[in-house]
């Protein structure tokens, strides 16, 4: 389910089935890494919204967590607060989806699962390959979700 009133209404009615919060982690950098951070942010946003379409009955897609790439400590400590709040509510699983590899190294500090995928250069592809590349990535990500769910049952 998405962060829109209609979906939230549905969420409130069937919240026992929605046990997974998905938080896209979206870096913002200026100067040097600006374009790269845009690519990561773009890719992770598309990926998660596509994923939501496949698994909407069990996941709530939280608005993306944007952070300054140059302030990793702040980014982690803020995310910890979000995480505490989500786990306090009924969510059993918190999944972070990101193209920023730094999060993989910080995963130990978080209770949720960091799912990292490389951002692919969509801007260099034609429409058809974009769509099929994305489908492929979404399928991989989906399998990771399904696997994680299975592990805990």
């Amino acid at each position: 389910m998405r962060w829109i009133p209609d979906d939230i209404a549905m969420f409130n009615k069937s919240s026992e089935y929605v046990d997974t919060a998905v938080v896209p982690l979206l870096p913002v950098a200026f100067g040097e890494g600006m374009k790269e951070s845009a690519a990561m942010t773009d890719f992770a946003s598309i990926l998660t919204s596509q994923l939501e379409r496949q698994l909407q009955g069990r996941i709530l897609l939280i608005p993306g967590h944007t952070y300054l790439k140059s302030k990793p400590e702040e980014a982690v400590s803020q995310l910890e607060k979000w995480e505490a709040e989500l786990l306090d509510r009924q969510f059993k699983h918190v999944f972070y989806v990101t193209c920023d590899y730094d999060w993989k190294q910080r995963e130990g500090e978080l209770k949720g699962t960091v799912l990292w995928l490389p951002s692919l250069p969509l801007e260099q592809m034609n429409e058809a390959s974009k769509v099929s590349v994305m489908e492929d990535q979404v399928r991989q990500l989906m399998n990771l979700f399904i696997q994680k769910w299975r592990e805990e049952e």
């Binding site: 549905m10 069937s14 089935y17 929605v18 773009d42 598309i46 919204s49 596509q50 379409r53 496949q54 698994l55 909407q56 009955g57 069990r58 969509l122 801007e123 034609n126 429409e127 974009k130 769509v131 994305m134 989906m142 979700f145 399904i146 769910w149």
Partner: protein, 168 residues
Amino acid sequence: MSKNRVSRRQFLNYTLMGVGGFMAAGMMMPMVRFAVDPVLKAGAEGDFIATKVKVADITNEPQRVDFNFDQKDAWYESEVTGTAWVYKNENGEIIALSPVCKHLGCTVDWNADKKNPNMFFCPCHYGLYEKDGTNVPGTPPLAPLDVYPHQEKDGILYLGKAQPRGGA
């Protein structure tokens, strides 16, 4: 640079179902749309959309068929990719099922669960459906999968708007 921009935007239109897409255009004339909408809707009911599948290529094994169409809801209009599971049943009739789980809307997959072969399986809460779309009692879904009406034109499969079949 600006060319890339356009294509990225188009890409979003293709891929983000129900989101975005021609938002600006939609927002400019909400009143007109409001007045016209019921008429458009009535017309849309009878619309069949061409798939890329030849009727002759449809087998007994459900295959995934994607098709594109414009979707209008309130002030959004976007090009959307729909999906159907298509196969021929024992009587040779074409069956086209919606992949949207009747429980909470996840996408069901054919033959994806090893313990339940030859069934439609929903990964979210393990809903199950028979090959004909009938929901398996004891799993969360309470209704069979929706069915797309279909037509054949020049050997190509056309699909209409998915219709519910009512409880089993």
